[in-house]
Symmetry: C2
Subunit: 469 residues, 2 copies
């Protein structure tokens, strides 16, 4: 490795002044405050070419590179505590919407564009960019693609990878891959796009993307329905799809504990029911011209009532009420942070195994200790956020010694049921050992071979996804 | 390389007798009769384990392996004329539907399952497996995934890769990757699934897949509409999506020449109009409960007539009429074969460039010679089959000397318009030079590195996609 000072001298000689930035503390922190990162310097390129210069120099000097988006990741992919101090390349200056093609349902954006700005740009041309997550006000497109973000609309529109037609990226060598195609069909060689998407910055640095837009549904509707449990919720989902086909955009499960946490820590959030029900779902539909979303939700509720799947429900009668329903779902993660989880799990299960998992997990955890569980998530995708908290009055720090056992208990159960221990947050640095433990050996071996082939010096986000050599 | 006889001896000692088959001539032919393949032997494994034994022995002996599906590929990916005689591994005995989960919209099938059998199995549980191509009666799931097949429903449901949740595959080492997940969200490491999908058997052998099913639309409708040209057709598509959102399942463009070819070679196919119009589209919609597909198509036609986009149209009034409309679209490739193309092109363009391409290409080709052009395809995906034929009475053989120039002319134009020279058929052996000529250098270099990393001996389908070392 080249001497860091010499590397920095070369870097500042090769890049224009605005592309170099002080290592401000916020680059080294992450949302849950678990890790404290380090950095040799921060580069904020104004173009793919400037990013390529930085990567090439880092490669020549064997300096690690961490691609940096909005910093909202929850698994430590955006910072490194150990190893040689890395160069952070933050995309925050590359925020342009480069081109919009409303008739093609296509938009080309730079990797630093913030998700909510992309939403706005799509809305301006009467289109929808469907990817939506709680951190939409700060998450950037490059990071969302690098981590293959999920969120609330996956049921209908897919994950981040399903919403991307092409990429521009700096490869670990410093070469730029110009892959900003706007094609729906393109079978010319290996799928490098999907390989970079979800690789969490370990195989390259995304600098721009071609995004798929969707038509805006003619009418939307939102309902809350009380269900008898996750199994009934899944039968309700099946019924909703029989009624409305792909019109079901979101199907979110929530538990009483989430409402309790809101009462305890965010009393300003209006409670939907005087007595919190044990399980309830938020259903969001977007329907075509000629259909009445509120009427369709009403018909669904009636049919579900007849089948004994639901016991109570309310259908939003205004935009304000719709926001209120969504606000409950979206503030639950914040209430969780106020309470302070011992550990959080982002798991997915085959739909048919969700109810069994929810039934089995509390008993398994009770063998470790006494906990409160807030289980909620994107039920339509089989994706549960299964978060474990101290009993009332307790403190997460008191349970530090149980953390590993709790996570192993949850993940073992998920794995035994053919689920995934990282549904949408990725591996980052938090789950490297989980991947080694639960991952398929042939897949892991292929991943290591690919990493070594594309990044022989191991400079791209070392220690994320795969253990650094 | 081991002596072939010794390799065959080891192979027959390691595999049960039913897994070995004679090298029948049909394994060495392909649909357009351009190439004649060769083979050392044919293995027809009964399980992934037997396939793995064959691949491992081939790897040890450095014998090339060609994974063999339905043999319907159009770019020579399924046979090799030169090089060492390969071992063909045909999936024809692995045709089981292993598991069906209607409530999850999921089905697990072996790679040898024929597409139309998968359609039937989905229909049996009131579901839809949306992938559909002309060769559905013989194409097998493994080959469809290995080539990322497209077809007529991509507009709504995506390509083969979008319909696959997981794979079981034999890696070039002979290790089996057990990746038959049925999860909608799974961010645990690199996307090996999408890397194998579309790699045309050069990175591994798919033995089974988890497929995504879709709800069956409550009602379907089909129409033929005469349009003023490709530009008007695209505005009609845009209007159709404004009216029906994702309800538009197929949007196929056809040209008068296709109807002429049918008259000439397949007079039994009933013509939709007494005088063939220059351009027309087939629109297929599948709508949710409560909507009337024929009524919606009628309303679309009226609106398009007002805008001057269409001049005539007919909406299928019965299942029989719907089949008749589709039959026209589906017999055009057969009529093309009867006429005999000088060369065929499977290209895609950004939607906004389609009309410009269709306008510019005939003039460019006229500088080479006089031809008939049958341009048709999946307009909604920007995917045109742009096939060039001799003038009436002429013979394709007389144009053999022009073939290269014609293809270069078409492909250069497509490339200049940011299109793709292989939309859905893949690279195979036919387009290796095209990929080298038009492919992005950074992507090609990454592809070569990945191939060398996963298949260091280069045994998997050598010469397909990438030139054999």
């Amino acid at each position: 490795m080249t001497d860091p000072d010499e590397f920095l001298t070369r870097l500042s000689a090769a890049l224009p002044a605005p592309a170099l930035r002080e290592v401000a503390p916020h680059y080294l922190a992450e949302p849950r405050g678990r890790w404290q990162g380090r950095a040799l310097a921060v580069v904020v390129p104004g173009s793919a070419e400037e990013a390529a210069i930085a990567v090439r120099l880092a490669s020549e000097a064997s300096v690690p590179v961490i691609p940096y988006g909005g910093g909202t990741g929850l698994v430590g992919g955006q910072l490194a505590e150990g190893g040689a101090a890395p160069l952070l390349i933050s995309l925050e200056r590359m925020t342009r919407i480069r081109e919009v093609y409303p008739d093609e349902n296509v938009m080309i954006v730079e990797a630093g564009a913030i998700l909510s700005d992309v939403h706005d740009a799509a809305e301006k041309v009467q289109r929808l960019f469907p990817l939506s997550i709680a951190a939409k006000g700060s998450a950037r497109i490059g990071g969302l693609l690098a981590t293959n973000a999920g969120g609330v609309n996956v049921l209908r529109y897919g994950n981040a990878r399903d919403l991307c037609l092409g990429l521009e990226a700096v490869m670990p060598s410093g070469d730029i891959w110009h892959g900003l195609k706007r094609l729906r069909k393109d079978n010319t060689g290996y799928d490098l796009r999907n390989l970079l998407i979800g690789s969490e910055g370990t195989l390259g640095l995304i600098t721009a993307a071609t995004l798929k837009l969707a038509p805006r549904p003619a009418g939307e509707g939102t309902a809350l329905m009380v269900v008898h449990g996750p199994g009934a919720a899944l039968r309700l989902l099946s019924m909703a799809r029989d009624h409305m086909g792909e019109g079901v955009s979101a199907f979110e499960l929530m538990h009483r504990e989430g409402l309790n946490f809101l009462v305890e820590t965010m009393p300003q959030v209006r409670q939907p029911w005087p007595e919190p029900p044990e399980w309830f779902v938020l259903i969001h539909v977007g329907l075509a011209r000629g259909l009445d979303p509120a009427g369709a939700l009403e018909a669904l509720f009636e049919a579900a009532l007849d089948e004994g799947l639901v016991s109570d429900g309310m259908i939003a009668q205004s935009e304000a009420q719709r926001s209120e329903f969504w606000n409950i779902r979206e503030t639950i993660p914040e209430a969780n942070r106020h309470i302070g989880a011992i550990c959080s799990h982002d798991v997915s299960l085959p739909l048919g195994a969700v109810a069994d998992f929810v039934a089995a997990a509390p008993g398994a955890l009770a063998r470790i200790g006494q906990f409160r569980i807030n289980c909620f998530g994107h039920l339509g995708d089989g994706n549960l956020h299964y978060n474990v908290f101290p009993m009332p009055g307790g403190n997460r720090a008191d349970h530090a010694g149980q953390r590993e056992a709790v996570t192993a208990c949850v993940h073992d159960l998920v794995h035994a049921m053919d689920g995934s221990v990282s549904a949408e947050h990725g591996i980052g640095r938090l789950k490297v050992a989980d991947l080694e433990r639960y991952g398929d050996p042939a897949k892991l071996s292929a991943m290591r071979a690919i990493k070594a082939a594309l990044d022989p010096k191991g400079i791209m986000n070392p220690g994320a996804v795969l253990r650094a050599e």
